[in-house]
Symmetry: C2
Subunit: 440 residues, 2 copies
């Protein structure tokens, strides 16, 4: 029953430490530039990416590049595998799907060379970037920075195929969808990069989704903890695992647009709390539709009820997120909680099987819910922030069904039809609205 | 000035010998099945390939599969590289282009598993199949059969990405266009296969091109030497290098169709001369348009003329194929010879530069020529076979411009407009016509 889906395996070996210490890279900034699928979606866009890299290289920076597959290619490969066998062997799936990043790495290296920038491609097995054997959704066990640092020391730009590594079985392993962000952070840690720039199709991290709240504001800085919570509760800009890894390894991650002009101050940067001078109480508001609400009603109230319900769910590897228990006057209790939508059917089956033990009256499921989360390091010291949330929602007549909190987050489950209203109201209430526009 | 373009580097290590000796594979036949790009061009065709492999596997055979990229994919990748840089770094070109075979190997493994056949893919670096560092057209330096034999011993079908290996620099290297045939033969040698079956879009090796000579006959058997000569003078069915490697390693190569029903006697087999009981004097007739004719006229006749002409050409790495020298009555001599069309401009430049030394009158070039070659082991013992060629061509009024011979081959250069006439006449004269139809 974990509160977040962040795996804890990803780690980076210190094998490269000795080498990096011995070279004089003290004055030159080392950066990782990561480009997603849309940024390298065509040959023309690959040329633009190469120009961006050249511009950094020309400033005397040591640059390593991490790339995704050209947009659409991964889906095509996944489609091929599924057409042959919807339950295709993950090891073969990985060999097929990882080819997309292999192609991009070679093409970007060619594009850089054509601009006069020395470059070479690296596949996961060539680095090596070693993963565990969970093919299709592997975690990084270690990255050997030696070969990459040799390139950087010689003025060569390594262009690394993201999303892939090599497992203990000497076979290609992929990190799961969006894994290129995690690759980039792991590479940045292994080469002791000063910064990991994630080029994407938005120009930074916002206080909330600008498509829902027009007054959403781009954040210049956000802490790892806040970004991690926001990513885990619905913000899509960075993969949760990549943020967790960046936090553990102390990698400064910057998110910026690959489709507009940028400079050293562009985008949003994810850093340690110590680096942020003027801390805001609340960093952002996220929403998630990935929850299903289950209510187990009419349970005879007795000790051990929670264990009787959540024990079997944990045994079935089902993550339970938010929980609320209401005890009625008639000595009957109701337990309401959320699970991931993809786990709903399995959760129902587990509970129906356990009916004899729990002896509940009825089991209800609802999809008609949305989880709204407010995240900010200010919550640690300011108890009034929770009250602001409940007060704001109550004023709008929005009923809170379930509540969960962590050190720097409050999440509420509400009826999904109130989603936009709740987000806009909370955005204003927490003082997150853009200054330029009136916050009425 | 070699007579053929067969490289001599490809070799197969015996590293797997000890292992293969220790297992009891005495009674079970081991075969390699190689499928070209059109045979795996769609998901549906990949399913058909898997069914063919399953049929062999079900007979209790130990089967290894070698695959090309899906038809069209390699050209797409080559196009991407060329669009970025027509002179793309061969190492990056290799990383990009080799992805095609990687995808097919994984997909064929999935298709086999879906049919209940245990299978796993192998990339060149996983075997490893080690090449030299001539990226883009690498030769095989050695194949370690250990991992492949482990699979076979466990009833698993290894599905190997053809066309690719790993260079001494730990980078992906490709073997040049058509290199998957060579991969298949090298794999067959490494796992001591009884036979290497090359599935393609024709149903065997013919006495000549059936599109030109309707009475062309499929050969049940042909010797390595004959196939090697035929491949080097224009027969396209097998890559020259693959035949040379098969000959040196003693791999029986069978060519058969992947688009029709086949059995153990289908197609044509390339074997050692000793295995052919009823030898035919002539195996086949091939034609090639890849030659350019150069004539250096009006050279003062003196010793050392040949060295003065061919020395600089050799120094410029230009292969000269056929040579004829005519000395006139006026103490002037003419030298006529052929080079590959792609070398023509370079050859002209070399000769123009050497004009002061050679002191020739004029330099003429012609593309309007075709090389017709008759190949057969019978030539070793039967001098009359050459006479048949010249007599047949003379009867038709076809002028022979240049002649070259090897132990088992006679090639003549003629005006290209006589190509079909010459081929049909020679086919009949050497008794190669199909029996069923009248040979008038």
């Amino acid at each position: 029953m974990s509160m977040s889906d962040t795996p804890v395996h990803d780690q980076v070996s210190g094998r490269a430490d000795t080498l990096s210490m011995s070279v004089d890279s003290g004055k030159r900034k080392t950066i990782v530039m990561k480009f997603g699928g849309t940024s390298v979606g065509t040959i023309e866009r690959i040329r633009i990416v190469a120009q961006r890299v050249k511009a950094e290289h020309a400033q005397g920076r040591r640059v390593a590049v991490v790339v995704s597959a050209m947009a659409g290619v991964t889906n095509q490969m996944v489609g091929y595998c599924a057409e042959l066998d919807p339950l295709a062997d993950p090891k073969e799936y990985d060999a097929v799907v990882a080819s997309g990043e292999q192609v991009t790495s070679g093409l970007v290296a060619i594009a850089l060379q054509a601009l006069g920038v020395p470059a070479r491609s690296f596949q996961g097995w060539q680095i090596p970037l070693v993963t565990d054997d969970a093919h299709g959704k592997a975690s990084i066990d270690g990255v050997d920075g030696t070969e990459l640092l040799k390139c950087l020391d010689n003025g060569i730009v390594p262009v690394i195929a993201g999303f892939q590594g090599v497992g203990p079985d000497n076979r290609i392993a992929t990190l799961g969808r969006g894994g290129s962000d995690t690759s980039a952070v792991a590479i940045a840690a292994a080469i002791h990069a000063d910064q990991c720039d994630i080029y994407t199709d938005v120009d930074g991290i916002y206080t909330t989704d600008p498509r829902i709240v027009k007054r959403a504001r781009k954040l210049d800085r956000i802490t790892y903890e806040e970004m991690l919570e926001l990513a885990s509760v619905g913000a899509k800009v960075l993969q949760t695992r990549s943020v967790g890894l960046a936090m553990r390894e102390g990698v400064r991650v910057r998110v910026l647009s690959s489709f507009s002009e940028t400079d050293d101050d562009s985008g949003s940067i994810v850093v340690d709390e110590d680096e942020i001078v003027e801390k805001e109480l609340v960093a952002g508001i996220a929403s998630s539709h990935d929850e299903a609400k289950l209510s187990v009603r009419g349970i005879p109230d007795r000790p051990g009820i929670a264990a009787a319900i959540f024990g079997p769910l944990a045994a079935a590897n089902i993550n339970v997120d938010m929980i609320v228990q209401n005890t009625g006057v008639d000595r009957m209790t109701n337990m309401t909680f959320t699970v991931g939508k993809s786990d709903e059917a399995a959760a129902r089956a587990v509970l129906e099987k356990a009916h004899g033990i729990i002896q509940y009256g009825e089991l209800e499921t609802s999809h008609n819910v949305v989880k709204i989360s407010v995240v900010g390091v200010g919550m640690r010291s300011n108890a009034g922030l929770a009250a602001t949330m409940f007060g704001t929602l109550a004023e709008r007549g929005i009923n809170v069904q379930v509540i969960s909190t962590s050190e720097i987050k409050i999440s509420v489950l509400i009826d999904s039809e109130y989603k936009e209203l709740a987000m806009r109201a909370l955005h204003t209430a927490y003082g997150l609205d853009k200054k330029e526009e009136p916050s009425t």
